[in-house]
């Protein structure tokens, strides 16, 4: 059943990412919903589920991007794994911790993209980092922190999910 949910999530998130979000960008940069979803699932439900969702979402994203076929697949699945492993080390999740964690994972994923682009000089590397990698990482961190806050404060059962997570450790 969960695989059907993953495919459904990929089918819903990708149109939002490639059709609606381009009109809602800030300074030409938009958050990576796929990465946020994968980290979210990895963090709350474990590395295995995060990695599997990452494979599905990354592959769908690769089909709708001009980059090489493997980059999103590898980075999203890797991000799901990393979020899962990071989640196991955390006993009490806070908004700041979510922001820092997402920022680090986004920057690591961005570094993989930079590697795949084969940029030739430091100036190009810095420009791409400045215009794409850093703003996207900040955007992802802010959005996932907001999502965490909304889940814990307003979603029915959100607080209990966080508390149950603490009791699992």
């Amino acid at each position: 059943m969960k695989y059907v949910i993953y495919v459904g999530l990929a089918l819903c998130l990708m149109p939002v990412q490639s059709v609606f979000l381009p009109s809602l960008n800030v300074g030409g940069v938009r958050p990576d919903l796929g990465l946020i979803a994968v980290c979210w699932v990895g963090f709350w439900f474990g590395a295995y589920k995060g990695a599997v969702l990452g494979l599905f979402l990354g592959f769908a994203q690769d089909l709708l991007s001009a980059g090489p076929f493997w980059v999103n697949l590898a980075t999203k699945a890797g991000a799901g794994l990393a979020a899962g492993f990071l989640g196991r080390q955390v006993t009490h999740a806070t908004p700041v911790m979510m922001a820092v964690g997402m920022l680090l994972i986004s920057l690591a994923s961005g570094a993989a993209f930079l590697m795949s682009m084969g940029l030739q000089n430091l100036s190009e590397l810095w420009q791409v980092s400045r215009f794409v990698m850093i703003p996207e990482a900040v955007f992802n961190a802010l959005l996932s922190t907001g999502l965490y806050w909304l889940t814990v404060e307003y979603l029915p059962g959100g607080r209990s999910l966080a508390e149950r997570r603490i009791s699992f450790q």
Partner: protein, 290 residues
Amino acid sequence: MAIIRLTYGARRLALVLVVLLLAAVFLLPNPSAILLQKVGDPLSLVLELPITAASAIGDSLSELWNGYLALQGVHTENLQLRKEIDYLKNQNSQLREQAASIERLSTLLEFKVRQAPRTVGAQVVGRDATNWYQSLILNKGTSDGVQVEMGVITPAGVVGRVVKTSSALSVVLLISDPNNAVAGLIQRTRDEGIVQGMPDGSVKLKYIPLLSGVQEGDRVVTSGLVGGFPRGLPIGTISRIVKEEGDLFQSADIVPDVEFEKVEEVLVITDPLGITPSPDPLKPESSKAP
């Protein structure tokens, strides 16, 4: 219905398999890409439906906004556009006159007439799913004759080239992307260069000879040297020339003729040489609506 529940050991094994798969993809990118492309073909058929539906919803919302809610200043704009139409009509008649005389002279000199490119119309249904590339997603794929490396244009000018195709969708890398390069020609001076995008989204004409008399306001068109585009398609206008001491070439900033954020329909050039002549150079050959 059977419920498959993985035991802890099986889950750990699956996790190891995922890691191994990732390592294989990372270490062998080219063979993996070929395999993934084949696997992705049926998935693109599944993805086409929600993307087309989302695109249609987006278009309806945008139409609603533009048609009813953002009408302020339309009257002034209308007057300006009428003036512009009058000016363009005048210019058009002059150009027709010149074209007719060129045709007569060409016939006299027995020049071989350059054929118009053959094109397929397509609709833009989305943008790149990441921030890392500037690209468009089209609703036409290999089943409509679209192949990788084909040039993509609008009546205003060059948009980019196809970099990825599946049976139902294709991805076009814009000329404003740093990974794209198109051979360009300065129309007035006939100097050639390479049109390339920059990470901030601007477009540059690189490798212009130092002795070139290029000026701001010069028009840049495709040179037709590299496959995908025929000669003479508009790319943009030079807005600034960059000439630094010690450099072997000069470069120039270009304002593209196409507004990439507003592109909704495009033409994919399936045959740049136009072996089969078409009466209208920009008329798509496909009978299907884009």
